[in-house]
């Protein structure tokens, strides 16, 4: 019910709302100076709902009035020029910004109908539900096994060693890393190649059974082959998780995502089905970015 009122509010504020991603109402081209979100921000049966999100670093506003839904089993790509706030926004979704001093978030971010910024919400289980993979692979200085077992251990997901072994194997298999590391589970995770390290970090995230996986430019430190392995992985993971991915590569967004959101200097400019955004962007700024005029 709460969700519904928020949606209505968003409607009266003039945020573009449609029925479903496939059938957006056709409109005229918005003005270049317009900062209202173009396209459809809602989806049916969303997993996460963001309404009127503002983020401030001290006095500086990094995100202005962003409203967007994250659907089930979909990959949502966030693109935009450097410094446009896409990383800041994605870090709001599991409250990683809490660790940054002077960072303040207003607005509503609902996960399954509950505002995650509500005072009653505990951030620890939230982050277990909404996992995150970072730009630079950051395996812990522990063995491959311990890296993956870390999350299940702290959350008590396994009752004994055998169960833990099983969880670790399943996570590594899902991350497509099992065959490469099964013989060296007890060697340091930092000894793997960059692409393997990143898949290890994905396995580590999967091991705690999240519902949503946030990825902040997961391939920007990797070579093209490792990148394509990770992209295939993202494509497969979509069947079980909702995935938000921030990327600098428009090709990557086009390859892995179903919906794309374009950010510009803290504003969410345009949201829509990925193929529509890339073939027929409506906002002039989106068009400029996609055609490579800046960014």
């Amino acid at each position: 019910m709460l969700t519904l009122t928020r949606v209505e509010e968003a409607m009266t504020k003039g945020v573009g709302l449609g029925t479903s991603p496939g059938e957006e109402p056709a409109r005229g081209r918005p003005d270049r100076e317009s900062r209202e979100t173009v396209g459809t921000v809602t989806v049916e049966n969303p997993r996460m709902v963001c309404r009127g999100v503002n983020v401030f670093y001290g006095d500086k506003q990094a995100i202005r009035n962003v409203s967007i839904d994250i659907g089930r089993n979909e990959v949502l790509a966030m693109i935009g020029p450097s410094g446009c706030g896409k990383s800041t926004f994605i870090r709001c979704l599991n409250r990683m910004n809490d660790t940054i001093e002077g960072c303040r978030v207003t607005g509503e971010i609902l996960l399954d109908g509950v505002n995650i910024y509500d005072r009653k919400v505990d951030v620890v289980p939230l982050r277990a539900q909404v996992g995150m993979v970072f730009q630079k692979p950051n395996p812990f200085p522990k063995s491959v096994y311990e890296n993956v077992a870390y999350g299940p251990r702290i959350h008590g997901l396994a009752r004994n060693r055998a169960e833990l072994d099983e969880i670790v194997e399943r996570a590594l298999r899902k991350a497509g890393l099992w065959d490469e590391v099964k013989d060296r589970l007890h060697e340091p995770g930092t000894g793997l190649s960059g692409g393997q390290q990143q898949r290890l970090c994905i396995a580590r995230t999967i091991a705690v059974n999240p519902e949503i996986i946030l990825m902040d430019e997961p391939c920007s430190a990797l070579d093209p082959i490792a990148t394509s392995v990770i992209e295939d992985l993202i494509f497969e993971l979509r069947t079980q998780y909702s995935i938000c991915i921030v990327t600098h590569s428009m090709q990557q967004a086009a390859r892995v995502s179903q919906r794309t959101a374009y950010f510009h200097l803290g504003d969410l400019i345009e949201v829509g089905p990925t193929d529509r955004i890339f073939t027929n962007p409506r906002h002039p700024l989106t068009q400029d970015y996609i055609t490579g005029r800046f960014g």
């Binding site: 995150m132 970072f134 522990k142 999350g151 340091p188």
Partner: protein, 462 residues
């Protein structure tokens, strides 16, 4: 000309030589500032002339001052009347001392022996002559070298390479000073220790269980003949250091964790300097604190519990020493914890780890090599610490690991042995050097182990 004025003049010479060389280089390059014709830029030509001007002269200056006094003394002794000249070595050196003191005006001249007075006059005259000669020789050497090198400047001269070579040589010389100092210290200690081991066998010293270095000064005295078994002394050091570490490691490490992971900016800004003040307190003051406050407190507290605590207990000294090294452990651990990349913390937080889980399972293990290194440094420091134990731990060389008893440490024994009233070549005094040698070896081993641990962890984690 006093030596320091001479040195200043030399520096002025070399500054002038720099400009000389630079001007010459510009002249060589030709009109219109075509410095590209030169192999090296004019600055390097100037620097080359300046270095050649200053370095040989300064070297000569240093050597001259180093050997001046010896040479003059020998000449003066040669000039002494026969009876004094043929005196045995130690008496002669007394007379030489007198001569120098009279010459330096530190003695009333009239009080001295006429022969000494005459020798002193000679000494003073020779010294004056030597200083004049020094000024003339060094300054002319500097000028000659500058002019010589200036004449050899050519456009093709590889002045830059020469200057770089000279600078490298100077850096090497400076770093070898530190090495040679270490070697010198080791050799001097080893020399005296060998003298000691000629009297007391090494095995008896290292494994003997009784330490009682009092020796009879006169043959008719009833006294111990001296027992030099170092085990009680080293056990005392180990005991006190262990107590110190038990105090310092948990407190230091936990305050470091609090400061770096939990504390707000403003609290940290106040607390960190306050903790570091602990490191600035002179150890003598810690000694008062241990002897006058902590030791009686420990004794009384032990009395309440029905324990028999010596008024100079290992516990009191160890606790105060532990407090003293808290800032070491805290400051070093804090640095290493801060050096753990934020990305590792983010990784743990993003898996739903709490702060303490992140700290225990990720941050501290990642910082562990550095923390271990810091702890071992603190151990070396505790073993070498002297003042606190001199004042609070006592002198009784008890063979015990009971922290409530009085024990003594290596450093305390070295101090008491050396401020004794015995001849310098008695075993009692020489024992200090043997103790010092073993202490040196122990701290050296600790440092090697620390380096080994740090390297092993680093290989594992990088």
């Amino acid at each position: 000309m006093p030596p320091f004025v001479l040195l200043a003049v030399l520096l002025a010479f070399s500054a002038a030589a720099y400009h000389l060389g630079r001007r010459r280089a510009f002249a060589l390059a030709g009109a219109g500032g075509r410095a590209q014709r030169l192999h090296s830029r004019p600055n390097y030509h100037g620097a080359l002339v300046a270095l050649w001007c200053a370095l040989p002269a300064i070297l000569l200056f240093a050597l001259w001052l180093a050997f001046e006094s010896q040479v003059i003394t020998r000449i003066v002794v040669e000039g002494l009347p026969e009876p004094q000249r043929s005196l045995p070595g130690d008496r002669l050196s007394l007379i030489v001392n007198d001569i120098r003191n009279v010459a330096g005006g530190r003695f009333e001249e009239t009080a001295a022996d006429p022969a000494v007075r005459e020798a002193a006059a000679t000494y003073r005259r020779l010294l004056g002559l030597s200083r004049q000669a020094l000024a003339v020789v060094t300054l002319s050497l500097a000028a000659a070298m500058a002019l010589l090198v200036r004449r050899r400047l050519r456009p093709t001269l590889r002045a830059r390479n020469h200057v770089e070579g000279i600078l490298t040589a100077m850096l090497v010389a400076c770093s070898t000073i530190a090495v040679f100092t270490t070697v010198g210290i080791v050799l001097s200690v080893v020399y005296e220790a060998v003298l000691f081991f000629r009297i007391i066998p090494v095995g008896e010293f290292l494994f003997g269980l009784s330490w009682s270095p009092q020796m009879a000064i006169r043959a008719d005295q009833v006294g111990a003949s001296g027992a030099f078994g170092a085990v009680p002394v080293f056990l005392g050091t180990a005991l006190i250091s262990a107590i110190a570490m038990v105090v310092a490691v948990p407190i230091g490490l936990m305050s470091a964790i609090y400061l770096s992971e939990y504390a707000g900016k403003s609290f940290r800004a106040v607390a960190k300097p306050l903790i570091e003040i602990l490191a600035g307190i002179p150890t003598v003051v810690y000694g008062f604190f241990a002897a006058l406050t902590v030791a009686p407190f420990v004794r009384d507290a032990g009395g309440l519990l029905g324990l028999d605590v010596a008024s100079e207990s290992a516990l009191a000294a160890g606790v105060v020493m532990g407090i003293m090294i808290i800032p070491f452990v805290c400051s070093l651990s804090d640095d290493f914890i801060n050096a753990v990349p934020q990305s590792l913390r983010d990784g743990a937080y993003s898996l739903g780890a709490t702060r303490s889980e992140t700290v225990r399972r990720v941050v501290v293990p990642a910082a562990l090599p550095g923390i271990m290194g810091g702890i071992l440094l603190a151990v070396s420091r505790a073993i070498g610490e002297t003042m606190i134990v001199v004042m609070a731990a006592g002198l009784a060389a008890n063979l015990t690991v009971n922290p409530l008893k009085a024990v003594t440490t290596v450093t305390v024994q070295i101090v008491t042995l050396l401020i004794g009233d015995q001849e310098f070549d008695s075993p009692k005094t020489l024992a200090a050097f043997a103790l010092g040698l073993v202490l040196f070896v122990v701290t050296l081993c600790l440092n090697v182990i620390a380096l080994y641990i740090v390297r092993r962890y680093r290989e594992q984690y990088e």
